[in-house]
Subunit: 251 residues, 2 copies
DNA sequence: CGCACGTGTCGGCCGGGACCGAACCGTGGC
DNA sequence: GCCACGGTTCGGTCCCGGCCGACACGTGCG
């Protein structure tokens, strides 16, 4: 009677998982790692503003908890999120957290912020204004449809083939093909799931986009008209914000 | 350079949200509340095995954090999850937590466990073997389709109309129409989303199912053939486990 | 070989927070 | 009016865990 029969995950297990993210330093690690790349322990320590020894401790716990995986190279310890499932978990949690009243501070921070809000990676797919725009355009084009839940249409399969993205290989594993992911800056959904990741990768392969510093992404001069054509929108609609869209906010 | 520009949710916000679930007592509260009903502070305190004063404290924090909403009636304080979004968050987190190696203890616990694993509510939709069976049958019947992501088909709209469930009212709000929800006991998906909730409610209204003790649900004698017909399966496929399917584990 | 550097370990400090018991307060029943 | 009961508030205790500095270890460079 006392122990109660929860017959499912028990409170302790849930709590210990949540505890991994319940520390601001570890949380900031995970948010940083949401760019999908591998970071070294030192990098994470610096961006979080803690001593290397502290960061090392946290990383050990995150790895042991299964949220991160590590890869050692020489004297470096690279860590990254353990997979899309973990990324989604962090995204969801972050999406429910109250938006910070953080008006960027310095000039440099502002321009960096502008670049990030225009286009960035969210784990392994596109986010920011460009990500939301892609999401909306795919719905307009009939590539996606949300009449009965977000889904790829038969039309969409053809559209993807034309772009050089075969769909079948994307159906492997438990990961959903398409999924909404709430955009932090736009507060509207962009496209995630294995298809979102494949598109992001394909755009990079085609040279339509390139990675900027950190998680920022830029649309190349060649990529703009090409992507506009594929999405059936005017190239102007893809214009980057105020600053030159080729230079990533000159220092 | 030092402060870093996360340009999104900041680590502290994420951490404070996660901290709400990072305590085993609060976590067990949320898991208990996943049945979708409103519990009193005392009930939660007893099932978690803590003093009323402790529970009161925890509830205040959970309400302030926006995870729970309260409703005071006389000398009682009823709390329930703040909404489907919170329920999904807890589910997801619980789904990623390691499965507990908890072989039920006593005789009574075993039969209660059997009833629960057969059919129960998961916030506001059906879970357990019956929930998974429903999910699979809907896919077989062509009501749902996951060719391009889980979605309701045109055929499904008709099927629902026949059952007396109009679809349009379900499209309101941000909540997805259909969604997979990982079943704790079956470790396979069952149907969530506004449609999952509507079906669960409809079955209760039709008298096909009734609520048992706690979050358990039972299929009524009248409901079994009716549901079997609607799903296009043999009534035997819906048979409850070993024990009598009418008595919910006496005393 | 020795030095710099990135990382892990240990000890110690300290704050937060989980918990309880006791007293207090309002509700509802007698 | 009294009492039982559910809930809350308040001290006080105690432990967990985040943090650092100092030291040890291995890598890679000069």
């Amino acid at each position: 009677m006392e122990g109660m029969t929860t017959t499912g995950t028990d409170g302790r297990a849930l709590a210990s998982l949540a505890a991994l993210l319940a520390d601001s330093t570890r949380a900031s690690f995970c948010l940083a790692l949401l760019d999908g790349r591998a970071w070294t322990a030192g990098e994470l320590a610096r961006t979080a503003g803690v001593a290397p020894s502290t960061a090392s401790d946290h990383l050990t716990r995150l790895v042991q908890g299964g949220l991160l995986v590590e890869e050692r190279q020489g004297r470096h310890r690279y860590v990254r999120l353990a997979g899309p499932a973990v990324a989604q978990l962090v995204e969801d949690l972050a999406g429910h957290a109250p938006a910070p009243p953080t008006p960027p501070r310095g000039l440099r921070a502002v321009s960096a912020g502008v670049a990030l809000s225009y286009a960035r990676t969210c784990y392994d797919h596109l986010a920011g204004r460009l990500g939301v725009l892609l999401h909306d355009a795919l719905l307009d084009q009939g590539v996606l449809d949300r009449a009965g839940g977000l889904a790829l249409t038969p039309v969409g399969v053809g559209w993807l083939a034309e772009l050089g993205v075969p769909v079948e290989p994307l159906r492997v594993g438990r990961r959903p093909l398409v999924r909404d992911c709430l955009d932090w800056t736009e507060r509207r959904p962009h496209l995630a799931g294995s298809l979102g990741a494949a598109l992001c990768r394909r755009f990079l392969d085609l040279g339509w986009t390139v990675r900027g510093s950190g998680r920022a992404v830029r649309l190349t001069p060649a990529g703009r008209p090409a992507l506009a054509a594929a999405l059936g929108v005017a190239p102007d609609a893809l214009a980057a914000p105020a600053s030159r869209d080729t230079a990533p906010a000159r220092a």
